[in-house]
Amino acid sequence: MQWMSPKEYEKMNQKASPPTPVWKTVPMAFLFGGIICTIGQLCSMLYQNLGADLETASASTSITLIFLAALLTGLNVFDKIAKIGGAGCLVPITGFSNAVVSPALEFKAEGLVLGLGAKMFVIAGPVIVYGITASVIYGILCRLFGW
């Protein structure tokens, strides 16, 4: 198509495409993210009341949230909540859990090893790769310069 340049077309596209309704998505993200973190806070305080120290309580809280998100993913509910909550469900550790569980569930059809096992980290894998890499670089800096 020689009578239309990609640049000009992109302008037309911008005009024709409806914008994301940020006035809805952003408050929802705040609300859902806030609620998930509040549940986390309540868990953490409960575990501390039961005698755990802060660090143990914090780790147990993460594990609890990971479990809940995994279960809701299995029950076909998490994606429906996240449809409304958006980043409010994605950014907390629940989003990481969902990113691990959903491909495992989806690709079970291709077998327990090459499906479930191999595909489990197709989405969440990069989080581990870049998280660990960043931490190792930081560790080297710590060791060399006593950061």
């Binding site: 998505t25 986390g40 594990i63 691990v100 989806e106 990069p126």
Partner: protein, 122 residues
Amino acid sequence: MEWLIACGKAFLIGGLFCVVGQLLIDYTKLTPARILVTYVVSGVVLSALGWYQPLVDWAGAGATVPLTGFGHLLAKGVREAVAEKGWLGVLTGGFTATAGGIAAAIFFGFLVALLFKPKDKS
């Protein structure tokens, strides 16, 4: 009363972290996986600069539950392991500190995948 204030702080900071994520999704077209990566790496960096720990002290779960908290945990683990074990700590610190969360995600993921079935959206 104290617990209510703690929850309010967690709600506020946790909510704000998610607002930033939502703005990134809506305005930058970054895919969700990229946003998760950005959060974890930012957490490592913020923690390394010493800025994240005060936030955790103030907001509790509001700072530890978002994935930046995961990054903070990685950095904190490495920092402590290096002090304790030297060079070996550089490699073991991150995974050791986050082992619980990662193992939980893998194990629960495995269980859920075994027990449930994906469903069509309707």
